[in-house]
Amino acid sequence: MALREIRSALVTSNPVTQQILGICSALAVSTSVATAFTMSVALTAVLCSSNVIISSIRRHIPPSVRLIVQITIIASLVIVTDQVLQAYAFELSRQLSIFVALIVTNCLVLGRAESFAIRNPVLPSLVDGFANALGYSLILLLVGTVRELLGQGTWFGITIFPLASDGGWFEPIGLMSLAPSAFFVIGFLVWFIRSWRRDLVERLPYGVRGQEAGDG
């Protein structure tokens, strides 16, 4: 069951490309693979522990204050993660700067707490958190790979395309280092996934005139 969960979160219900959650941080930290990787690890830790904690006290969270309780727990976990990174992964935390702290606004964490952990037992919630974090990490690393490769000619800091300025042949694409390119890359990914798996395309909630005519 756990395996199926994880496989589905990687593609069919991938949080980024299918649920369109967590886009904001995906834009900010995917300029290089190293930052994307650290962000993925940090998010996995936060998402798993927040799902577990929220699910374990789910019977005692009054519905009227549930969002406040959830966000308090998530925010505390994020601060702890940020502090741990600053202490034990100093260089990376410097590159991620405020984006670790911004996990708290990552809709993915609150989204999974609200739609899954609050209604399900601890173990499935842990699996759900882990699976979604993996799905997020996969996309983040893919986007990071594309952006770092085309923007700086490197992958994980290793030179893949020697830069023209260092006597190589590759002229880096500056746009790839800027936030909009993450939109383009994610957009292409969504397009690719939906042309490959037609069943993932949602049915339109309303008819489009031209289409209706065509169908009719």
Partner: protein, 266 residues
């Protein structure tokens, strides 16, 4: 997490719509979370501070290595080789008996007594305030100044850039510029942190023969000794560094100190 021990018996069995339960859960969660956060922060603080200090020392070391032969001078003259002196920026005088190790730029720049506000028309570095006194590093041999290391900071495109600039004994030639901290766009503005770009500063002249600060970062290739190559695609960051350097070398920054040292040296 809902803190069952300290509540009256049956707290958890209350209905979730009961106001007592609502407040109890909210307060309990807030309490436990705040304990967790403050506990972790307090526990990790020494490690984080050690990281920061190690980083600063490493950058300072790299800066000294950038000047050929400087290590030998310091080793030769012993522990006195590299000194840290507190400078009163307005007068350019060293402040005797100042506690330089306790200096923290951000605290000083935002405190009521220690900060000086920068007039808007002179605020090239866009800092609004600066400390009245800032420690600088100097390397001397036999009372003769060999190197003056000035801390600098200013706004770039999206972050505050913190740098060190070392001036040679003529107080006009750049021995090295090192960017200590920046959060500019990766791949563009962040390239100010690459050794290649920083090396472009070495040997440049910051002032002309009248002592006017003329150094600048230019687009499309530096032509004179007063010009440094900008980074294409990162004009605002490049200009930010140039303005930062010009502000801190100017008469609202370390200008009075540089003038005094030059007058004394002559």
């Amino acid at each position: 997490m809902s803190d069952p021990d300290r509540r009256p018996a049956g707290f958890l069995s209350r209905s979730n719509d009961d106001p007592i339960k609502i407040f109890g859960v909210a307060i309990g969660v807030a309490l436990i979370c705040s304990l967790l956060v403050s506990g972790v922060t307090a526990y990790l603080r020494p490690i984080q501070e050690a990281n920061l200090a190690a980083e600063r020392n490493a950058r300072m070391g790299a800066m000294l290595d950038a000047v050929p032969g400087l290590r030998d001078v310091i080793a030769e003259s012993g522990a006195d080789g590299l000194q840290t002196r507190m400078v009163d920026l307005d007068t350019g005088q060293f402040v005797p008996d100042a506690n330089v190790s306790a200096f923290d730029y951000d605290t000083a720049a935002s405190s009521e007594e220690l900060a000086v506000s920068i007039p808007a028309d002179r605020d090239l570095a866009r800092l609004r305030t600066r400390p009245a006194q800032i420690p600088v590093n100097i390397v001397e041999r036999d009372g003769e100044l060999l190197l003056l290391v000035l801390p600098m900071r200013g706004r770039g495109y999206q972050s505050t850039i913190i740098a060190l600039m070392a001036l040679e004994s003529d107080l006009r030639t750049v021995a090295a510029l090192r960017i200590l901290e920046q959060g500019e766009t990766a791949g563009l503005g962040a390239r100010i942190e690459t050794p290649e770009w920083q090396e472009g500063w070495t040997g440049k002249q910051v002032a002309d023969s009248n002592g006017t600060i003329v150094i600048d970062v230019v687009r499309g290739g530096a032509k004179t000794a007063f010009e440094v190559d900008g980074i294409s695609g990162a004009t605002i960051t490049s200009t930010g560094v140039a303005n930062t350097v010009r502000y801190w070398l100017g008469d609202h920054g370390f200008g009075p100190l540089i003038e005094r040292l030059r007058a004394e040296g002559a």
